[in-house]
Structure formats: C-alpha cells, structure tokens
C-alpha cells in the first residue's frame, strides 16, 4: 500500500513512465485529493551520500516488513502449540512495529497518499454487489438464527 509513494519526497529526475504517471495523477487530482502532512524540515536540504534520518527509518521499516514475511511462514510451520503461539505473538507485535514506523514517518510528512475518486469506488461496489448472487445463501441468511451458521469447527488447544 505505502510502497508506491516510497520515494515521493526525493528530488530525482522522474523517468518517462513516472512523468506519465504524474500527469495521470494530476488529472485524477482534479476529482480526488492528496493526503499528506507538511514536512517537518529536519532533513538536510541538499541530499548527500550520508544516510539521513529518513533513510534510517526506511531501512528499519524494510526490516520489519521482512520480519513479518519470515514470521508468517514460521508460524505456519511450527510443530507444538507453545512455539506456535509465541511465534504468532511475535508476528503480531512485528506488524504493530511496522505500523508504528509508518505512522511515525507519515507524521513527519514523508508519505503522501492519493484518495481514490468516488466514481471509481462506486463502480467497484456495484460490481461486487452484483457478484453476491454467486453465494449459495442469500445475504439475509447469514444471520446466526439459521442452522448452518451454528456449526463451529472443533478447536484444538
């Protein structure tokens, strides 16, 4: 989700494709809007070869993302329950730290998000509303008073 705007604050010459993308985004911006905080201005004005604070936080964010991938597989592959539960808890806490870093960076004004247009959302909503006819049960039958909903799978400790 927030990978796409990863480098949006850097003053780099955009490639042709990026320019096309930007033109498209500018057209979209007439209908939608950008979500971004003002930059706090703590970064050096001229970017040099040194790592700056944003680079450091970006690298930690990449590390946390990598860890969540690893722990997801680990949690699935564990044998005994106590290990599974410890790994699952670490996975959850690592997700939380990924989120904390993202929030921190968003607060610094290092992320910009683009709001989707209402028309585009309405179109998708319509499409998937129509697909609901493909379910065996009609929507009102997912109520708990129906017998098929009272079944619970057996929980193993």
């Amino acid at each position: 989700m927030y990978n796409q705007n990863f480098q949006s604050g850097y003053q780099q010459r955009p490639s042709y494709q990026q320019e096309q993308q930007q033109n498209y985004q500018q057209q979209q911006a007439q209908q939608s809007m950008q979500i971004k905080n003002p930059q706090t201005g703590q970064l050096p004005r001229v970017k040099d070869t040194e790592m700056n604070d944003r680079d450091r936080l970006n690298d930690m964010l990449a590390t946390e993302k990598y860890l969540t991938d690893g722990y997801n597989v680990f949690a699935r592959e564990t044998s005994y329950t106590a290990l599974h539960q410890d790994v699952l808890r670490i996975l959850s806490e690592t997700h939380q730290e990924t989120r904390n870093l993202f929030s921190f960076m968003f607060n610094q004004g290092w992320y910009s998000l683009q709001a989707e247009s209402t028309q585009q959302i309405a179109q998708v909503q319509q499409q998937f509303n129509n697909y609901q006819t493909q379910f065996v049960q009609s929507p009102h039958m997912t109520d708990s008073k129906f017998e098929s909903q009272t079944y619970q799978p057996q929980m193993f400790k």
Binding site: E64, Y66, S79, Y80, T81, E93
Partner: protein
C-alpha cells in the same frame, strides 16, 4: 500437561504434537534468532547515529522490542527441556 499425554495414550491418539523441537522447528528458530539479533543491533546503531531526539528514542525502543523477541525464542532452546520432553513422551508411548 504430561497427564494429558498419559490420558491420550490409553486412546492411542494425540490431539497435538508433544513439546519436542523438530528439525524444522530448529532451523526456523535459528533463522528467526539471527533476524532479531541483527534487527536489534541495527536499530541501536541507527539510534546512535541520529541527532533527532524523537527518532533516537523510537529506534532505541525498537532495539528493545527485538531483544525481547530474541529472548522469547531462546527460551525454547533451554538445554534440559528437549531431553525431558523426549523422555516423557517415550515413557508414555511404551
């Protein structure tokens, strides 16, 4: 916990694996311990480099989180634990 195994033995059925580290568990534990160690060291290193108090503080906090995760995983590798659990398991199986 082992009473549970004993009870289950009469039925010749185990609803879940015993607390014995498998070869696969150990390989994943090794991986995860290495990730946590380097994540903690890196967060601490970056915290030393930064001059922004808020960022330093957050990075130091992250270093602690990863150290705690490291210790949680290491608990599973306590030397006596594996042998004890294997003994218990074998006892109830025979």
């Amino acid at each position: 916990m082992f009473n549970q195994y004993q009870y289950q033995q009469k039925q010749q059925h185990y609803s879940e694996p015993p607390e014995i580290i498998t070869n696969k568990d150990l390989l994943y534990l090794q991986d995860a311990l290495s990730w946590e160690l380097i994540a903690s060291k890196k967060a601490h290193h970056y915290s030393m480099e930064s001059e922004n108090h808020q960022i330093k503080q957050h990075l130091e906090y992250l270093a602690n989180v990863h150290q705690r995760h490291y210790q949680t995983l290491l608990e599973h590798l306590q030397p006596n634990r594996q042998q004890q659990n294997i003994n218990q398991y074998s006892q109830y199986r025979n």
